[in-house]
């Protein structure tokens, strides 16, 4: 009853094949966009920006990136943190080397640089598969972090080894640096994330996405029916790294403002993103958002309840968080391997028929 299909007629194939074929769903999606663009910028404050909304948007981008590689193309990667670092350091180098360059293009170029690096580290994927490849991507993770830590050129020989984002503006409004207004950096990130999510959704629906999924489901069979494994796997690595690089650039320049590579882009970040897509749903764009929201909100919630509410020590809350996250991963893999996205799908299906069970 909540999802009325009666009277919702489609008169063309493109109507039938759209992302949200049910009118109610489509309007809900427009409503979410409207709230995100027209309401939140006016009510957002510093706390919400820094601790919830910005991390959610940034991690969503990164999660979409990893989901393209792991969820759609079936190549498990543990190098996400390293690729985020490439995006962050690329944006830093671009911002300091070309001060006139608009931050918008800086972020996109960082993504492009990360795509190139990602494709390079994706080359072995032709020969090695499965968890052999997962371990191979660890090489990318450790090597890249080491590189940014040890070669002074990347951090402009700053004394602390940290990188700090200079102030940059779009249309004369500051979006990076400590003086940027919360709504400005939020809107800037939101525009990018919305556009990228739209691109990702349509890429995965089209020819490219289909060939990724063919490789994921059975690579040798896909090769026999004419999917070029080299082009497909490398494109998955490149596109995925583009998203992760943009995410890394946003993470550093707009959200954090300053970063130290070992701390901000360590191996734990790779696992964090992997958990996001497992809990959210492998092979689903919505799942990337859901997983990111879950993993961003869980620590905040636990901290508020355990530390703020019950007065327990912070380290205890951190350990309990690990137990919960680890337990949830196992639970999701056992009970619902398609994650929160599948739960959402099931709920929708139920609501369409409600109150009748069949």
């Amino acid at each position: 009853m909540f999802y009325r299909e009666a009277g919702d007629f489609k008169t063309s194939y493109s109507d039938d094949g759209q992302t949200f074929p049910i009118a109610f769903d489509r309007w809900r999606y427009y409503a979410v966009l409207a709230v995100a663009f027209l309401v939140i910028p006016f009510v957002i404050n510093d706390y919400w920006e820094k601790s919830i909304i910005m991390p959610f948007l940034v991690w969503s981008t990164v999660a979409i990136g990893l989901n393209i590689l792991t969820g759609y193309c079936g190549q498990l990667s543990l190098g996400t943190g390293g690729f985020m670092a490439v995006g962050a350091y690329a944006s830093y180098k671009l911002m300091t080397a070309f001060p006139e360059l608009n931050i918008f293009f800086v972020v996109l170029l960082s993504g492009a640089i990360t795509a190139a690096v990602g494709a390079l580290f994706g080359l072995p994927s032709l020969r090695i598969k499965g968890f052999y490849l997962a371990v191979a991507t660890l090489a990318a993770q450790f090597f890249l972090v080491w590189l940014f830590n040890k070669v002074p050129w990347f951090y402009n020989s700053s004394a602390s080894g940290q990188i700090t984002a200079p102030e940059r503006s779009v249309f004369g409004i500051l979006v990076t640096g400590p003086n940027a207004a919360p709504w400005a950096s939020y809107l800037f990130t939101l525009v990018l994330v919305t556009a990228l999510a739209w691109v990702a959704r349509n890429l995965t629906r089209g020819k490219v996405g289909r060939s990724w999924m063919a490789i994921r489901d059975m690579d040798i069979a896909a090769e026999i029916i004419g999917v070029n494994p080299l082009a497909t796997k490398l494109s998955a690595f490149a596109v995925s790294s583009f998203f992760i690089g943009v995410g890394g650039a946003l993470f550093f320049s707009v959200y954090l403002g300053a970063a130290e590579v070992g701390e901000a882009f360590g191996i734990d970040k790779s696992f964090l993103v992997l958990f996001m897509i497992i809990i959210g749903g492998l092979g689903s764009i919505f799942g990337s958002f859901a997983g990111a929201a879950f993993m961003v909100l869980l620590p905040v919630l636990l901290k508020n309840v355990l530390v703020g509410g019950l007065g327990w020590p912070t380290d205890l809350a951190a350990h309990i968080q690990m137990v919960i996250v680890g337990g949830l991963i196992v639970l999701f893999l056992i009970l619902e391997p398609h994650g929160l996205a599948q739960l959402w799908r099931v709920a929708k299906e139920k609501l369409r028929l409600w109150p009748f069970p069949h």
Partner: protein, 341 residues
């Protein structure tokens, strides 16, 4: 011999020794992978958990003391007694067997027939769970582990190596840690006994049957679940040994779980299914990364390139394994991967 040569030999020996330590962790991986096709990422955390439990039991720590104190407002930390090492090791072993049982019951049973990659991710989840749980149970602070293993400088090596150099050259002798030598001996014993176990006992034969073909093993009456519990128990034992060695060397701390990450390239090099592969891979990685580090920080390297790099141990193993895999995807001793549609 010249001092440079002796230094090189010292680096090599120490590299081989640390390679043995990597191999100890890698062994646990190989066992589980061989018998069930599960790539158990949690092996490193199991070593950490075993070491934590051992220290906790030994020093009479109250489990979950931190949580209890926070919930009830009490202030308990220790029972106030010390347990002899032997008993503590035995009890820890019981805990690890219990853990194996629970893992089979709660996780593996439900994931039969899933893709290997799903199982791998499940063990990552398990690793997180276990790490958090261990911290909750025994607190996350660095703990001293002492089960009476010999440690410190080996005078015999120092003296023997000093005799090799010119008396006038002012050579001080090699530094070889006695603990590393112990670890090497223990690893050798472990490999021999594991090989004997799998070759000459009934349970070992069942284990090899399961490794060969799950369904065929089931059809001749081998209980897959018993085998899994057994294998995870043995992996728990290996984890305990690795935990004792690493814990005695560096103290029991959270970063111990990262040795799992060091064991991964060892496995890739040696092949996932080969016990000797884990040992050889460990030795190659251990010696390789120490020698590489020695080389890139040396004057000769500086003379050619004009700069020095350091801390290459972070990535050398991975890059080596990655390059190696491109040419031989199954590793040195691994089974050839044949795929059919």
């Amino acid at each position: 011999m010249s001092i440079e040569t002796l230094n090189l030999i010292e680096v090599l020996i120490n590299g081989l020794m640390s390679g043995v330590m990597y191999a100890l962790v890698a062994l646990g991986f190989v066992l589980i992978f061989k018998s069930s096709g599960i790539f158990n990422y949690a092996q490193g955390v199991m070593a950490l958990f075993a070491a934590m439990t051992l220290v906790g039991l030994q020093t009479g720590q109250v489990p979950f003391a931190h949580l209890l104190n926070a919930v009830t407002g009490m202030h308990v930390t220790h029972f106030g007694w010390n347990m002899p090492s032997g008993l503590a090791i035995l009890l820890t072993l019981v805990v690890m067997v219990g853990l194996a049982f629970l893992v089979e019951r709660l996780v593996l049973k439900h994931l039969v027939n899933q893709e290997p990659i799903i199982l791998f991710m499940a063990t990552i989840g398990l690793a997180f769970f276990l790490e958090g749980f261990g911290d909750l149970m025994w607190t996350a602070e660095i703990k001293q582990l002492d089960v009476g293993l010999p440690g410190g400088l080996s005078e015999w090596f120092e003296g023997a190596s000093m005799a090799l150099a010119d008396p006038e050259a002012g050579y001080w002798g090699m530094y070889v840690d006695k603990l590393d030598v112990t670890a090497a001996v223990v690893a050798a014993l472990l490999v021999i006994s594991l090989t004997l176990f799998s070759q000459y006992t009934r349970a070992g034969r069942a284990l090899r049957a399961v490794a060969d073909d799950h369904q065929a093993a089931l059809s001749v009456g081998i209980s897959l679940r018993f085998i899994w519990v057994m294998v995870w128990s043995i992996a728990g034992l290996v984890a305990l040994v690795a935990g004792i060695m690493w814990g005695s060397k560096t103290g029991v701390q959270t970063s111990l779980s990262l040795i799992a990450l060091k064991a991964l390239p060892v496995l890739m090099l040696g092949g996932f299914t080969s016990i000797p592969g884990a040992i050889v891979g460990g030795l190659i990685i251990g010696a390789g990364e120490k020698l590489f580090e020695y080389f890139v920080t040396s004057d000769a390297f500086h003379g050619v390139t004009g700069f020095n790099i350091d801390a290459t141990e972070n990535w050398f193993a991975y890059v080596l394994a990655l390059l190696f895999l491109v040419f031989r995807p199954q590793g040195l001793f691994g089974d050839r991967i044949i795929e059919r549609v």
